[in-house]
Symmetry: C3
Subunit: 356 residues, 3 copies
Amino acid sequence: MLRYLPLLLVPLSLGMQALGAGPVWVFLTGAAAVAVLADWVRRGTEGLAAHAGPAIGGLLNVSFGSVAELILALFVLTSGQAAVVQAQLTGSILATTLLGLGLAMLVGGLGRDRQCFNRANAGLLSTLLTLLMIALLLPAVFDLTERTTVSPSAARITDEEVSLGLAAVLLALYAANLVYTLVTHRDVFSREEEAGEGGAQWSVARSLAVMVAGTAIIAWEAELVSGALEATAQTLGLSTVFLGVILLAVVGTAADLFAAVVFARQDRMSLAFSICIGSAIQVALVLAPLLVIISWFLGTPMTLVFTSPLGLFAIAGAAFVVRAVAADGESTWFEGLVLVGVYIMLAIGFFFVGPA
Amino acid sequence: MLRYLPLLLVPLSLGMQALGAGPVWVFLTGAAAVAVLADWVRRGTEGLAAHAGPAIGGLLNVSFGSVAELILALFVLTSGQAAVVQAQLTGSILATTLLGLGLAMLVGGLGRDRQCFNRANAGLLSTLLTLLMIALLLPAVFDLTERTTVSPSAARITDEEVSLGLAAVLLALYAANLVYTLVTHRDVFSREEEAGEGGAQWSVARSLAVMVAGTAIIAWEAELVSGALEATAQTLGLSTVFLGVILLAVVGTAADLFAAVVFARQDRMSLAFSICIGSAIQVALVLAPLLVIISWFLGTPMTLVFTSPLGLFAIAGAAFVVRAVAADGESTWFEGLVLVGVYIMLAIGFFFVGPA
Amino acid sequence: MLRYLPLLLVPLSLGMQALGAGPVWVFLTGAAAVAVLADWVRRGTEGLAAHAGPAIGGLLNVSFGSVAELILALFVLTSGQAAVVQAQLTGSILATTLLGLGLAMLVGGLGRDRQCFNRANAGLLSTLLTLLMIALLLPAVFDLTERTTVSPSAARITDEEVSLGLAAVLLALYAANLVYTLVTHRDVFSREEEAGEGGAQWSVARSLAVMVAGTAIIAWEAELVSGALEATAQTLGLSTVFLGVILLAVVGTAADLFAAVVFARQDRMSLAFSICIGSAIQVALVLAPLLVIISWFLGTPMTLVFTSPLGLFAIAGAAFVVRAVAADGESTWFEGLVLVGVYIMLAIGFFFVGPA
């Protein structure tokens, strides 16, 4: 019964909106409801995956893993706030790599001398993280180079072309990565089974029903959240960028963060590492290019030109510090604390940027 | 007989020029002829090296390895296009580290589970690559710092002084590296013998004749190529920077790229790795400082201040992604694909910069 | 007797000042006296530490390790030259990581095939170095982001707030690191005993007396040095930033540099590595945040916004090249030379910045 309790957030947030409560309450309850629903969709996906073979199952798991974040981002995007979507993408990467992995290492390492994780997997994920750092920084560097020679409007159009080109390359690399981890090198990357208490034993029908219904309600809630975003920011005296980079990002990745900490405490650090870094890679390798392409079809193009120096620095910093921590295939509580410390330092930076 | 066939490109390109063909044809056939001749000069060098001891032989091999690139760069430089030379240097580093190593890992890894390479050597080369990244980025950072306080013309003069100073340090480190790999630590770095089908059995006279004649014809062709460069760029609607960073660079390193892929397919990944990264190091540690010093004597000083943010970012990105891929001393086809993917993304960036 | 000889620098520098000698002589003798006194204070600390348990002893050693640098920085700061203090902090990091470690590897590696050091320790220190690179670069990136939207004076105030916030996080991480290395993971990090010829056998009274007297005289000398700084720079035709980043920094870290080279020559590379990188970490994790907080109380706030692009680049470059060299847990003379080469290249850059 207890596991159904968080679902009460859905009627609560809808009630808030209907009764004309303040935008802060609508925003917070709606965001929490999205986080809860994302976990249910994940369980439905796992249920369906359990009935498919391992290859198709793995494909399902990675494809629907970010559906909540995608829907949330699309609603924020269509309400004309591309900068907030970029902040949310940046924040998702920071939340999973620094906060999630850091908390997992910290909580998992307390009372233990050290925890080990699969080095082959950690190496692949680190390499992909470096690739993604380059992919996400490149458009901003291109834009900087371009603006020294051409007019801003001309630069804007080539920014879109470059972003579409990079999005295509990223999606192609993602497809190749699926072939790599699910087909040619399946033995190396066969993930430790997650003992799912929820979805793994569900029937196909139940899994599908939960996935469809959950996704639909997420869309409903996402509309509330994106609508209340600006008023919430004004009321709280925060910038919309800070809300996006910290709050929306933690909401979108809450299920992953929670799972990683639980697994780390059970001394299953390889799994916690895969969940956190895998989620960050999912964001940059799939979510970002999909948003570029979908937004282009919607007529409100979002480029990959991340304009905030602080955001670009944060992505690069996260990639470097994760590489440093992961290099030896071992973790301790202090390494976790360093990751959390870097997250807090970046959050301080984002807090002070914008309206004081 | 077949190996003499590509030499027909030399009369072909000279004929194109004599008959007044379009500059695009002169440029393309001339560039291809340079690539073919570079391979012959390399064979002549190997032949001479086989008659010397291992230390002198190694010295010969590394010294004449980039003679074609040096001549090509000097002709482009004296025609007043320092930016194209910088683009060519940047492009050579990208072509060998990302495209060459990536293709080698991709082609070598297909159908194989993994390929191993010498970690001691990979570690040294990675360290040097990091050093060179710092050396090539430093003058641009210096220039940026300097311009906040002094006039552009004063900055220009100190840029030249700084570049000369750095060039001296780089050449000194290169000399020390030769002592290190050929004298004090020869056992560690004794390269797997390349079973040369061409030059290794040549006589001293034949080797010398091929080296001298080849170098002379390269100079002739290089003059054609640099002369046709600007008209070619206009005809194709490309920027001269794009031609330099992609086309001239691939021409100058074609022999290395080809050799690396062949050796990787034979599962000799250590050798492929040495060729690719060694070639990039050669460019930055020898070619770039030599061009700075020679150009200063010629009265058309080229500084090490790489002004394109995209070029600087590309060099740093290549260094990081190679380090990430090389860290574990193993490679798979997917790691190769990631390198090629990064190269394509950077090429997209360079394509869209400049005249649309 | 011989060990008391350098102490003659103290009366010498005070005499220079009293007799009205040129500022260059006051500056040079005073700076040398600070370096000598710093070594005595260090011996006093070791003497006291030997009487305490290992945990308290370790705490004492790391806490008083930078007292000379702190006093010197405070005097320069109160004479209104925050830029010189930032240069000194930058220079201390460069001097220990590049010059000190490089000379140690170079001198220690001559005539030896390779030297090994403790990989667990090297890994932790590398991770901390990456963290500190992020912490020191973040405020400058924040400042850059902030200035695109608000006025310079508003940016200045938030710069101070951000710096104070980061300083608090850094000091908290430092405290956690002490718990980590001195309590929970003491076995892993128990340092090889330094066979102290000086302080280790001193009585508590003698140790305390040396510490107090030494620190007091350092303060006196530091006032002379900071007072003569500007006149010295003008006389020598150098910038005060160059004096801070090279001369003051080498003075402040001279004892560490010397110890590291001596231990490396004795083939105790783990200890040399710990001294050099530990000293750099001490500067960024303790000294910099302390200066931010103390300067705020003094009413002459120093922020962590390092404004020199060259300085920021130097810190990042040092972190990367140390990581590259330390990755394999081994060192050779050539790796040492590369570190020294990077230091020389950066010094060339700092030399040419500013008044020609």
